[in-house]
């Protein structure tokens, strides 16, 4: 019984893979109806499915598959031509088989399904248009049940046999794994001989191609033997199926090995025994490689999820009468299996929404001077330890005014606040719960559930989703997700002597305030502490208060970790900020699982346990995320700036002569201003006392070839503080002008320039300026 279950289980897995492939093939065939290769593949897939269900005694399924296969064979033999009708019928066949397999999966039996209408339709299509003299498909024994011509899912019949009973071997596009091809590729046989053999076969010779070749002296027996082995290997031996649970267990063990390794390294740090040190290093090396290898086994290309989308897009666009072309880029981008599963639904939802709302009807598009065919583009790529998935369309875009009205009418925001809010921020209301602007409810979207679920699901796995839209030009959804959930980068902070890990994905920036720095202190607004972060009010909470720990002694400095959750920024006061580390996330035991402030725990290098803070939980516990809390919406602009750090945002500064220079924002630590009397000279160089140390000032103007700088003037000097490998330097500039996100960059002869508001702006690299002034290391960070 168990064995039967196992066979059926395998059959179901293969079926579902086959059906997915078939879906894809059929959608492709609509585009290129004459592609013999795809036709052959589709035929073979359905044939395999049919063979297996016959073998396992699933009669209903076999009948449906058989009729579908008949129709496909007529297409393949060019007796029929692909039409919408045929495509619909074939896709319906796939759906019917899928329905039966899911019943088998649940109950172990086929159940009762009525597919007579579909069968009749398939028969009608196959017969009505097929001339009576259509050649009977030789690969189609009437019984269907015992089809020995293809290796089935369960039979381990050598693939070479397939050649014998498959006279369609002379089809113009032979499959890659044909034995004849292998022989030809290996130089063991001539193409002509193979073709002659194939022809003989089709004329009734029931020997295998290999046998024919050997017996007629056209190839060596050993070579045929070798080719047959190769053929089998290419089909099954190059990969194996592994239970995901087993992989998870191995992954856990590797996580523990990493921790043990970290402890080992710490213990051997002060050791003197050379062999011990080298053994520890060797262990460390192997562990890293093992970790990488195991992580790779869980990686899957995102194409696995995308492969279902062509069918979705096709069906929907037919339903709405739209013309949509789906383009995919970066299919091979790999992600952890768990994450792939988690983004499947959000991704499908966005795509459905785009087809429904985003892309206009063909006549509307034409009226607006667009191609009647809309383009839906999926793009995935790796970006700094994360995967970015973009879903963009060239449709009508999201109308910010409609969203604004709706948000106000739903009470999500006050009318005044709504009027002030930028379009870009307004559009993000589509992610608010219960928000839908569809005029009519369709079965696709418009029921007010959806986009909020998309955001919840994406955030649950530590990702973010963002939307950008331009009226008349289209909309782009951008999903950023981590590569893996098991091992994440985190910032280690401490409060009251204990360490806590803050997931890096929630981290925005770090701020350090000196107590004597009166201009930059924490202020109270209606009893709530806030901090002015570049002119905006940032709500702050104290980690000690949040965790009900003892209030700390004043330390002279306040460390604020700026975090974002649900598009809101807040500051978290911690005692000290330690290091960034890759941590292995471990779940919490049931006794403490319900505490929302913690997302898990991890083991540090010294073997001690540290809790991982749940940033979302922290925000909720601090009342920072109430729905419609309009005060915090204003912070979004700030968040957007931050979110684009990695997109090479530029800080635009003005020099003494009025010219503009851009500094990459990610290399800027802080902005300060110093009055002339604070600026001293040491070794002929301007310096200031800053945070208990002496920081050199560099006048950017002269270092970029200007005749005069800003330091000698009587006014306060605006200084951009840059930190390079721990060395601080202040770049003195005239004025801080702006922050430009995602500027247009041009590179020529090694010189990088940006164009901002129609002006050409030179890019200054702080590391280079610093090293030219003899500060910091000579290593240039070649960011630009």
């Amino acid at each position: 019984m168990d064995e039967d279950d196992e066979i059926i289980g395998e059959f179901l897995v293969e079926c579902s893979e086959g059906l997915d492939r078939l879906d894809q093939n059929l959608v492709e065939l609509e585009e290129t109806p004459d592609d013999r290769e795809i036709l052959t593949e589709a035929f073979r897939t359905l044939h395999t499915v049919k063979g297996s269900c016959g073998f396992l005694g699933f009669g209903q399924m076999e009948v449906v598959a058989h009729r579908g296969e008949n129709l496909l064979s007529l297409l393949r033999d060019a007796v029929l031509e692909m039409s919408d009708e045929i495509a619909d019928a074939l896709l319906a066949t796939v759906d019917a088989i899928r329905q039966i397999t899911s019943t088998i999966d649940e109950t172990g039996a086929e159940g009762v399904h009525d597919h007579s209408a579909l069968i009749a339709e398939l028969e009608r299509l196959a017969s009505a248009e097929a001339p009576s003299e259509a050649p009977a498909d030789p690969a189609e024994p009437a019984t269907g049940a015992d089809t020995p011509d293809e290796p089935t899912a369960v039979g381990d019949e050598p693939a070479a046999d397939a050649e014998v009973e498959q006279p369609e071997a002379i089809a113009p596009e032979p499959a890659a794994e044909r034995i004849g091809d292998i022989l030809v590729d290996d130089g063991e046989a001539r193409r002509d001989d193979v073709e002659i053999a194939a022809t003989e076969q089709s004329l009734g010779d029931d020997r295998k191609i290999g046998e024919i070749l050997v017996e007629e002296g056209r190839a060596e027996g050993a070579a045929v033997e070798k080719a047959a082995t190769k053929q089998r290997a290419s089909r099954s031996d190059s990969s194996i199926r592994v239970d995901v649970e087993l992989l998870d267990r191995v992954m856990n063990l590797v996580g523990e090995l990493v921790l043990a390794r970290n402890q080992m390294l710490q213990l051997t740090e002060g050791a003197k025994e050379k062999p011990l040190i080298s053994a520890a290093q060797h262990l460390s090396h192997i562990t890293s490689e093992l970790q990488e290898g195991v992580m790779k086994t869980r990686m899957q290309p995102i194409g696995n999820v995308w492969s279902k989308l062509p069918r979705v897009v096709r069906d929907l666009s037919r339903q709405f009468g739209k013309q949509i072309r789906l383009e995919m880029e970066g299919k091979e981008t790999e992600l952890d299996k768990g994450i792939i599963e988690a983004i499947k639904d959000p991704l499908t939802h966005i795509v459905r929404n785009t087809v429904d709302h985003g892309i206009e009807m063909p006549d509307e598009r034409v009226a607006n001077g667009k191609d009647p065919e809309g383009v839906l583009k999926l793009r995935a790529n790796h970006e700094g330890g994360q995967v970015v998935i973009e879903i963009s369309d060239d449709g009508k875009g999201i109308n910010a005014d409609i969203i604004r009205e709706k948000a106000i009418s739903k009470g999500l925001i006050s009318a005044e606040a709504g009027a002030e809010m930028s379009d870009k921020n307004v559009v993000n209301f589509i992610f608010a719960p219960g928000f839908s602007t569809a005029q009519a409810v369709s079965n696709v979207s418009g029921r007010g559930v959806g986009m909020d679920v998309v955001r919840t699901n994406v955030e649950r796995i530590g990702g973010t989703v963002d939307v950008r839209t331009e009226a008349g030009q289209g909309t782009t959804f951008k999903i950023k997700i981590p590569l893996t959930l098991a091992i994440i980068p985190a910032l280690i902070v401490s409060a009251d002597g204990d360490r806590y890990a803050v997931p890096q994905v929630s981290l925005q920036e770090l701020v350090r305030i000196e107590d004597e720095d009166e201009d930059h202190s924490i202020e109270m607004v209606h009893g709530a502490p806030v901090y002015r972060l570049r002119g905006r009010l940032l709500p702050v909470v104290d980690l000690r208060t949040n965790l009900s720990l003892e209030a700390g002694e004043p330390q002279g400095v306040t460390n604020i970790v700026v975090l974002h959750s649900d598009e809101r920024l807040f500051g978290l006061i911690v005692d000290s900020i330690e290091d960034t580390e890759e941590i292995v996330v471990k779940p919490l035991e049931r006794q403490i699982k319900d505490i929302d402030l913690f997302a898990g725990a991890t083991i540090m290098g010294d073997g001690k346990v540290a809790l991982i803070l749940d940033v979302h939980g922290l925000a909720v516990a601090s009342n920072l995320t109430g729905p419609g809390s309009t005060a915090s919406w204003g912070l979004e602009d700030e968040l957007d700036e931050g979110a684009d750090y990695d997109e090479r945002a530029l800080l635009i500064v003005e020099l003494a002569d009025g010219s503009m220079v851009g500094l990459p924002l990610d290399q800027v630590d802080r902005l300060e201003s110093f009055s002339p009397d604070r600026i001293e000279r040491s070794d002929g160089r301007p310096v200031v006392q800053y945070r208990g140390a002496i920081m050199s000032l560099i006048d950017v103007g002269p270092s970029m070839g200007l005749s005069h700088g800003v330091l000698d003037g009587p006014e306060e000097a605006n200084v951009v503080v840059c930190n390079q490998n721990g060395t601080l330097a202040g770049l003195a500039v005239g004025h801080i002008r702006d922050i430009v996100l995602d500027p247009e960059m041009h590179e020529e002869d090694g010189l990088v320039r940006a164009v901002v508001d129609g002006r050409v702006i030179d890019i200054a690299e702080p590391p280079r300026i610093m090293s030219m002034a003899g500060i910091g290391s000579d290593e240039l960070i070649g960011a630009y």
């Binding site: 523990e256 204990d498 035991e589 006794q591 403490i592 346990v609």
Partner: protein, 152 residues
């Protein structure tokens, strides 16, 4: 439970304050001396925190606090117990020997017993010199909210 009482049981004994308690050795995975504990803010007060048990993060529960019993304050022994597929550490004052108990000396706790111990003590073996209490390990490691559900 009655079935269990029919044959001799081996109990791992330990003390919490004045009390002598025993857990079936089959439920005890190991006994550890002092461990570095990471406290968990907002957790139930009888949860001491988390320990690193060879790479597995395990919850440590202060049995004294759980039973509302006076402890010597030196609680430093971790009795690692397995229940229902999960592992937890129960902190006790000191560890005793493994003793074999006679089921005929077993009695249910007196009706008059009150406080948290009422729910957590299954019964007691009358040893010659004192009583050996048998805690319900499952309930000890489950936190009060969960324990209430079990009762209901």
């Amino acid at each position: 439970m009655s079935e269990k009482m029919d044959h001799y049981l081996q109990l791992c004994t330990f003390r919490v304050g004045e009390l002598l308690l025993g857990i079936d050795v089959l439920n005890v995975q190991e006994v550890l001396r002092e461990q570095s504990i990471t406290r968990v803010p907002h957790a139930h007060p009888s949860i001491s925190g988390l320990i690193n048990l060879r790479g597995k993060i395990t919850t440590a529960i202060d049995l004294g606090s759980r039973l509302d019993a006076q402890t010597t304050g030196s609680a430093a022994i971790h009795v690692v117990v397995r229940t229902g597929g999960s592992v937890a550490s129960v902190i006790v004052d000191s560890i005793g020997e493994v003793i074999e108990v006679d089921p005929s000396t077993y009695e249910a706790p007196p009706e008059t017993m009150t406080g948290p111990a009422r729910e957590l003590i299954l019964g007691a073996y009358k040893l010659e010199t004192e009583l050996l209490l048998v805690p319900d390990v499952e309930r000890v490691v489950a936190m009060p909210s969960a324990a209430v559900e079990v009762v209901a």
